[in-house]
């Protein structure tokens, strides 16, 4: 029996997540790997929005910011458990994406890019300037999720690094599973259809505006949850999380690894999270090396590293 594309992708992910810790010499590696996973989660949302539906957003860090600050603020002001704050953040992000997406998704290509960039900047401005609530540029402390202590109570003792690695990896796996499910069903196919031809999509009964909006809302929830997890892990948030550099980083990760593929985008997130650590060996040339690698990948593997290499291998095979 042949394994479907979906389950082979999920198995690969699961295997890598399970096996990777065997090669972690220190707790620092857990910390980096947990960052890979949280970035992986965020870029799965970009796969749905950009890879499936063909819509660009340069403002998704705005939703990561909302998720992060929800975890910082809701426990203080609303007395919510940090876990519930994550859910609240996701709901707020979804609602905001619904409101913002409606007008801006009428735009296409770089017009949409600039409009979404504007949204992201707006969120980061609010977070920076409302310092009475958000602590301004210095950011604020985030309460402890408490789950690690509870696990220790039932006999499962994990270091902070280990704990966050497994939480984020689990979130990423669930995120991948949901996105791969979507891809096989009417909703995902409709997104890929309108990516190919909006005219034809409308002709077969797809409500193009609504489909784009749902992709935008779903991807906002991914970014929001990733932002929340990052804040809970760091126990600190600053407005940088909503900054446009972070938005561009998300898109770059996805495109570099392969924005049309969940596995590819996660790989891109891994590469761009790990490379700066590896390239520190190049000292002051670190940024140059990073830029060069990105350019070369785009020139020679336009679909992204994973789909590009797969196509090369298949081309050889036949």
């Amino acid at each position: 029996m042949r394994l479907s594309h979906k389950y082979s992708a999920l198995l690969v992910l699961l295997a890598v997540v399970a096996v990777a810790p065997l090669f972690f010499p220190s707790s620092y590696y857990y910390r980096v790997a947990s960052l890979v996973c949280v970035n992986g989660l965020a870029v799965i949302g970009i796969v749905i929005l950009t890879g499936y539906a063909g819509q660009i957003s340069l403002g998704h860090a705005g939703f990561a910011g909302i998720g992060a600050y929800a975890c910082a603020l809701a426990p203080v002001h609303l007395g919510l458990h940090p876990g519930a704050a994550l859910v609240l953040g996701a709901l707020v992000s979804a609602g905001l994406a619904f409101l913002v997406g409606r007008p801006i998704l009428r735009l296409k290509g770089y017009y949409l890019g600039v409009a979404s960039l504007g949204f992201g900047i707006l969120v980061s401005m609010v977070l920076t300037n409302e310092s009475a609530i958000t602590g301004g540029p210095d950011g604020m402390q985030v309460a402890d999720l408490g789950l690690r202590g509870w696990l220790a109570g039932i006999g499962l003792r994990l270091t902070t690094g280990q704990f966050w690695y497994f939480v984020n990896a689990l979130a990423m796996l669930i995120g991948a599973w949901l996105a791969l499910n979507l891809n096989e069903r009417a909703t995902g196919r409709a997104l890929r259809a309108l990516h190919g031809s909006e005219t034809a999509a409308a002709t077969v009964g797809i409500d193009v505006a609504r489909a784009k909006l749902s992709a935008f809302v779903i991807s906002a929830v991914y970014a929001s949850v990733a932002g929340s997890l990052l804040a809970l892990q760091n126990r600190l948030v600053t407005p940088d999380i909503a900054g446009y550099m972070h938005s561009i980083e998300m898109v770059t990760m996805a495109v570099l690894g392969g924005v049309g593929s969940v596995l590819g985008a996660i790989f891109g997130a891994a590469v761009l999270t790990l490379l700066p650590q590896v390239l520190t060996a190049f000292d002051q040339y670190e940024q140059i090396a990073l830029g060069l690698i990105m350019m070369l990948v785009m020139i020679y593997l336009r679909q992204g590293i994973v789909p590009g290499l797969l196509a090369l291998i298949r081309g050889r095979g036949t």
Binding site: L178, A186, G188, A190, H195, S197, T203, I218
Partner: protein, 266 residues
């Protein structure tokens, strides 16, 4: 004849549109009954595709009305028309090139497959079984247009003639009451044209009303119940194939050109 009875499914009245001073279509009307094949003919630039675009909700008509199965649907969005049983193909091909051939046709079943977003995200059994059912139906449609062996191929890699048939299969997936075909045989070889010809008659026989734009006059004259002739956006003649082919204005505006210049492109 069954085509003579029954109330019309599609009624177009006084339809018109202007593009920057150009009256691309002006005061065009006709009616289409179940099982009937009505053809729109006319030279290049006569306004045939523009007429299709107005009926299928891509262009907002400046004047006139379109009624589908008794309901006024003038200028209604395409996806809403699809729900009401109107489906079409495109002269310049509108496929989903990155999808497999099978998925292109499965997209045509969107309205039948679509459930709740959460059922799709969570892979609920109801969503799974709907996809399985429409996949089988899509394969059957591919077999019907002779593309079953290309099912798993990427659509963008298919030949022009195959893509024409793929579009028909996708349009049929909606089980349309009214089907608009814009030059379905353009760019097809003789065998393919014959197959498409046979397919169109079959579809009409099942009760679908067909509006056809086609430059292949042999095909048009053979399968049409009624022909509307457009020139410079206006209806210059109409009637059954025999009447239309004898009309002097038609011969001058269209058929004459055909005979001298052999093929009309498009």
């Amino acid at each position: 004849m069954s085509t003579e009875t029954g109330r019309p499914l599609l009624v177009v009245e006084g339809l018109g549109i202007v593009f920057g001073g150009l009256r691309a279509v002006h005061d065009v009307g006709f009616a289409l009954k179940p099982g009937e094949i009505v053809s729109i003919i006319g030279p290049n630039g006569a306004g045939k595709t523009t007429l299709f675009n107005m009926i299928s909700g891509l262009y907002m008509p400046a004047s006139g009305s379109v009624r589908l199965d008794g309901e006024v649907v003038t200028g209604m969005a395409s996806h809403l028309l699809a729900r009401r049983g109107l489906s079409r193909t495109f002269q310049n091909l509108q496929i989903f090139p990155a999808m497999s051939v099978l998925e292109n046709v499965m997209s045509g079943f969107h309205l039948k497959e679509k459930g709740s977003l959460f059922a799709d995200l969570l892979n609920w059994p109801t969503a799974r079984s709907r996809t399985r059912a429409i996949e089988a139906a899509a394969r059957a449609l591919l077999a019907r247009v002779g593309l079953e062996r290309a099912a798993e191929r990427e659509a963008g890699a298919l030949s022009y003639g195959s893509l024409k048939r793929l579009e028909i299969a996708r349009a049929l997936a909606l089980s349309p009451k009214v089907l608009l075909l814009d030059e379905p045989a353009a760019g097809c070889n003789a065998t393919e044209t014959e197959e498409i010809d046979r397919l169109i008659e079959e579809i009409a026989h099942e009760g679908t009303a067909i509006l056809l734009v086609e430059h292949d006059m042999k095909m048009v004259m053979r399968i049409s119940n009624h022909i509307v002739v457009l020139d410079h956006g206006e209806k210059i003649a109409e009637g059954d194939p025999a009447t239309v082919s004898r009309d002097p204005r038609v011969i001058e505006a269209y058929l004459g050109v055909q005979q001298e210049g052999s093929h009309a492109g498009g």
